[in-house]
């Protein structure tokens, strides 16, 4: 090692301090600093000067080890000797090698006959690779290129075979830079980048008109020449649409994973929509410097820019461009822009200040509007769960679970000091780049402030990791309360990673954070992932020495919430254990747990138990939390639901409307809790025999849920299911049946396998099919229901009984009287001991049995 090397390493701390300080200065002021240092210490000054010039070296050095060594590492793939400069290929003379790929080597060449001065890129198939398949591919590229003439596509000039029989292509030589590097080095602003992009989109559209799909659009295939003209290159894996049937031919996997569309990655059918997606990635990278985040390709580009510290660009992208990219980057091909041309048209509209076509309702950031109107922080945390109503054709969904609230409160008080500091800092020094949003002309929302807070906490790596984790989990808890589950999850993931890095995975705060995280994940609808987290927490608490009854109760409630969709009996057992623990402690926690238990009893058809628990919950909460506290309101709501189930409709709707109004006032009309209350009011109308008012409620609820939760979310499905039930009640059978199909498809897509919720749309459909006399269809549907419920619900659960009863009716309709009788007898017998079965279903079942005669069900009718 040389002397300067020794200097570098022996005095590294000092050197690093100098270099860091120097890099903080504007470039113009650095030489002065170097000079000052040199005066004191010539050696150090010289080293600093060299380091600064290394640092300013803009070439993408040391980014990734490149091909030559790799090629060497894997012998047998050695490249053949070059065509040496001066050698001749057809009418072309080789000047130098320019690049080497898996399939071909590219040379710079000139016309050998000197007919005119033209430099070109000559691409020749590598020796040894001239298998039939590859040669065919090479020829396909030639065929494709010969059909394409567009100012933004590199032209095919010539082609042929070398003397040793390898095919070659001669292409227009594009001397330039990849589009992303060019935009950077020319410091293009956003409109200039968009304009540049339009050239690419036009080229792709021109190719599509010739039925050519490029399939490998990425920055290194989009070059900008010295005149600033964009050129789309490399149709090497492009193909003609007519060849679609050859999809599985060897090499169809030749793609660039980072730029591949979802259908390319899963080897699905490739259409022009795939190029639209790749154009979306290209534009995303061109504008933000990054590809879309692979774990969430639809994260807003403006947010990425903002996180990268580029506020002016973030502001420029927010709105239209976010929407345009969102539409281009949909994972379902049919949801994207129908063509590269439509994509380009929207970009043009944006550049001219016209409204774009990409539809705002379908984006991931609907919460912004809501938060704009309701910048409130609700204390506590929301964990959403789905419970079963006692009745099959509709879902009484009560998804308010505040078990984790106590955790948040505890964490909040423990970290009150830090939190207060965080908020004071947020208020005192708002981000100078976004003091207010010019588009909306108002102060930033709480959620935006929190996001900024999270970024700041995270960007401060010098802070104690434990403190950072605590702040992040506090922010995560608030995001949960706001129903911002994906933000909550991201922040809590970070908090938990920090705990793991400090080995702090047994502490009570870690346990609390797991609880919050499982709530956030459940809020996003990933029920089985949430279960993994809540189970881990429960295990942690059960093993804690000495046990902490409050934390154990909280973990029990959390896991109970999570498991309810799959195993209601176990959920109730866990919740009962939690209530037992909390009776010794008292306080609002007991009221919350009782309220949850009341919901679960009702879900299991145990309405009498539910009423007892709900009344006690309400009494406890009114005494300990106050009459208008959100938890008290929820308990009142629960009691309303239960009374509805028990047939006391007047009292039920009164309680439900009362609690709904408080939530609309205090929490906001689009908050997930408020929406659930609205849902439950609709259910009560249905139960009260008023499907007309129920339909009104649910018709408005479906789009509201789509805005709040996202389109593919179980909550949307339950609203649709309830709408179907209302339509059935109104006798609009065809509409209702179509809707149940949609619900079932949605559930199958988003719910974990084995979820009993899938049975509900099918139960509704079976009723419709029976009403329409489609007995064979009904029988198939009921077989599906029985398969979905098999072993997951007790035999005397109302859903199982009614499914059996329906099967009996279907069998009777099909003429299988003996089997029908057997089935109906079993159902009627179990019905008398199950209190959850509704009167009209009793009548339905007993009536069907009576119509079959032979053994008169007189006793049951009397009961």
């Amino acid at each position: 090692m040389g002397t300067t090397d020794e200097l570098l390493w022996s005095r590294w701390e000092e050197v690093d301090r100098c270099l860091d300080a120097a890099l903080d200065l504007p470039a113009a002021e650095r030489p002065a600093l170097v000079e000052r240092v040199t005066r004191q210490d010539a050696e150090l000054g010289a080293l600093l000067g060299r380091l600064l010039s290394h640092a300013a070296d803009a070439s993408p050095r040391l980014e990734a080890p490149a091909e030559p060594l790799m090629a060497e590492l894997f012998p047998g793939e050695r490249v053949e000797p070059d065509l040496p400069p001066g050698s001749t290929v057809g009418r072309w003379t080789i000047r130098r090698q320019r690049g080497r790929g898996g399939m071909a080597t590219v040379y710079e060449a000139a016309r050998a006959d000197g007919a005119y001065e033209q430099r070109a890129a000559l691409k020749v198939l590598r020796r040894g690779l001239d298998t039939e398949d590859i040669v065919r591919r090479f020829l396909t590229e030639r065929q494709i290129l010969s059909s394409l003439t567009h100012p933004n596509i590199a032209r095919l000039l010539d082609g042929g075979s070398t003397t040793d029989g390898r095919p070659y292509l001669v292409l227009e030589l594009v001397d330039g830079e990849p589009i992303t590097a060019w935009a950077r080095s020319h410091e293009l602003d956003v409109p200039q980048r968009l304009t540049l992009f339009l050239g690419v989109a036009d080229a792709v559209h021109a190719a599509h008109r010739q039925l050519v799909v490029h399939r490998d659009i990425k920055p290194s295939n989009v070059m900008v020449d010295g005149d600033g003209r964009v050129r789309l290159l490399d149709f090497g894996i492009a193909r003609l649409l007519e060849q679609g049937s050859e999809r599985t031919m060897a090499g169809s996997r030749a793609l660039t994973p980072e730029y591949a569309s979802p259908e390319q990655l899963r080897d699905g059918p490739i259409t022009t929509a795939s190029d639209v997606y790749q154009l979306g990635i290209l534009l995303h990278e061109l504008l933000t410097g990054q590809r879309p985040q692979s774990e969430n390709p639809r994260t807003r580009p403006s947010r990425l820019a903002s996180e990268a510290g580029n506020q002016p660009v973030a502001r420029r992208l927010r709105g239209d461009i976010d929407l345009v990219l969102d539409k281009a980057l949909r994972s379902e091909p049919e949801e994207r822009y129908a063509s590269a041309d439509e994509f380009a048209a929207d970009v043009r509209r944006h550049l001219r200040g016209l409204p774009i076509q990409a539809h705002p309702e379908s984006t991931t950031y609907r919460m912004r509007k809501f938060l704009g109107r309701h910048p409130i922080v609700l204390p506590g945390s929301a964990a959403t769960a789905i419970a079963l109503a006692g009745f099959m054709t509709l879902l009484g969904v009560q998804n308010q679970r505040l078990g984790a609230e106590r955790d948040a409160a505890e964490a909040a008080s423990r970290r009150a000091q830090e939190t207060q500091e965080l908020f004071v800092n947020l208020l005192r020094s708002p981000d100078p780049y976004s003091p207010a949003d010019p588009e909306r002309g108002r102060a930033i929302t709480v959620a935006e402030a929190l996001r900024m807070g999270a970024v700041r906490v995270d960007a401060n790596p010098d802070a104690d990791p434990t403190l950072r984790a605590s702040l992040l989990s506090t922010i995560g808890g608030v995001f949960n309360s706001l129903g911002q589950y994906s933000d909550a999850r991201a922040v809590l993931d970070r908090a938990i990673a920090l705990r793991a890095s400090t080995g702090d995975t047994l502490s009570t705060v870690f346990s609390t954070e797991l609880g919050l995280l499982s709530g956030a994940i459940r809020g996003q609808g990933e029920l089985d992932t949430a279960l993994v987290v809540s189970e881990r927490r429960l295990r942690l608490e059960r093993e804690r020495e000495p046990a902490d009854p409050a934390l154990l109760a909280s973990a029990l409630t959390g896991h109970s919430d999570g498991i309810e969709h799959a195993d209601p009996e176990r959920a109730i057992a866990l919740q009962e254990e939690s209530v037992r623990l909390l009776r010794a402690l008292g306080g609002p926690e007991l009221g919350i747990a009782l309220k949850t238990l009341a919901d679960q009893y009702r879900g299991a058809g145990r309405d009498a138990d539910s009423e007892v628990a709900a009344r006690e919950a309400l009494a406890v909460l009114e005494a300990t939390a106050g009459v208008d506290h959100p938890n008290t309101v929820m308990a009142r709501h629960t009691l309303g639901q239960t009374l509805g189930e028990r047939g006391e409709f007047a009292e039920a709707t009164r309680l439900l409307e009362q609690s709904l109004h408080v939530f609309e006032r205090d929490i906001g009309v689009d908050h997930p809790f408020t929406l659930s209350m609205r849902n439950n009011l609709g259910v009560a109308f249905l139960n009260a025999g008023d499907p007309g008012r129920a339909e009104e409620v649910f018709r408005a609820l479906v789009p509201a849920r789509e805005r709040t939760h996202g389109e593919r979310h179980p909550e949307v499905g339950s609203a649709m299911q309830n709408l179907a039930a209302s339509l059935l009640g109104l006798g609009r059978l065809a509409e209702a049946e179509a809707l149940t199909g949609e619900v079932e498809a949605l559930y199958r897509e988003v719910l974990p396998p084995g979820s009993i919720l899938i049975a509900f749309p099918m139960l509704t459909r079976s009723e419709i099919q029976l009403a329409r006399g489609n007995f064979a269809g009904a029988r198939r549907t009921i077989d599906g229901i029985r398969a979905a419920l098999d072993g997951r619900l007790p035999n005397d659960h109302p859903a199982v009984i009614v499914a059996d009863c329906r099967l009996g009716r279907a069998l009777a309709g099909l003429g299988a009287d003996a089997q029908a009788r057997m089935m109906l007898d079993g159902a009627v017998a179990r019905m008398s001991s199950s209190e959850g079965v509704r009167d009209e279903h009793r009548r339905e079942c007993i009536g069907a049995r009576a119509a079959l005669g032979a053994v008169a069900p007189v006793d049951s009718l009397a009961g």
């Binding site: 090692m1 290394h54 640092a55 050095r61 990734a64 490149a66 030589l173 990054q290």
Partner: protein, 198 residues
């Protein structure tokens, strides 16, 4: 925390928590895949002009851990591992090769990734190439003084991760990675240019 079941995930967790013994086992598990993918890439019939380590690592992860939900946490661990593995593979290879030639040539990596057909060619020439063994040695020096800077270089250079990916993997901010990457790169270039003078 999501997928503690697969051997890969278990080993990755052990390794990232400091269990050095997990590394050879991970290499056993992943080496063939890394190698096979590199192999296929080099002969890929598509018109790929470069072998991107990033692509390779992403793909290796997808292949090895197809069953997991792919939480970022477990992917980050894999990236960290793959970068280290790549470093080992390259350095071992360079050492062996140099030994074969009795100190003859120095194995070099080119600094730049070729940019497709029209990239300014640096291939073939030695300029823009870096000595793997010297890089490794310089990285050891840096690691002794500033472990995170060394890890940034490892992830970026050997793992092929982008700046945001590196930041996520190291649980730090993009800004920190950018600042430290700039400095670390300067130190390595300095150390290597010095080396070249001998």
């Amino acid at each position: 925390m999501h997928d503690e079941s697969t051997p890969l995930t278990t080993l990755l967790v052990r390794w990232s928590e400091g269990d050095v013994d997990a590394f050879p086992a991970l290499m056993d598990l992943a080496y063939d895949d890394l190698r096979a993918i590199a192999h296929r890439r080099l002969r890929a019939a598509g018109a790929r002009e470069t072998l991107s380590t990033t692509a390779l690592v992403h793909e290796a992860y997808l292949r090895l851990d197809a069953h997991s939900g792919g939480s970022w946490e477990s992917r980050a661990r894999f990236y960290a591992f793959a970068a280290r593995a790549m470093r080992h593979i390259l350095v071992d290879h360079a050492r062996r090769r140099n030994a074969d030639k009795r100190g003859g040539d120095v194995v070099c990596l080119t600094f730049e990734e070729a940019q497709g057909v029209s990239a300014v060619a640096t291939a073939g020439a030695d300029n823009g190439a870096v000595d793997v063994i010297a890089t490794d040695a310089a990285l050891e020096q840096l690691a002794a003084r500033h472990p995170r800077m060394a890890r940034i270089v490892e992830l970026r250079f050997f793992g092929g991760l982008t700046v945001p990916e590196t930041a996520k993997t190291l649980s730090t901010s993009v800004r920190t990675v950018e600042r430290e990457w700039t400095r670390a790169r300067a130190y390595l270039m300095e150390a290597l240019s010095d080396h070249g003078n001998h």
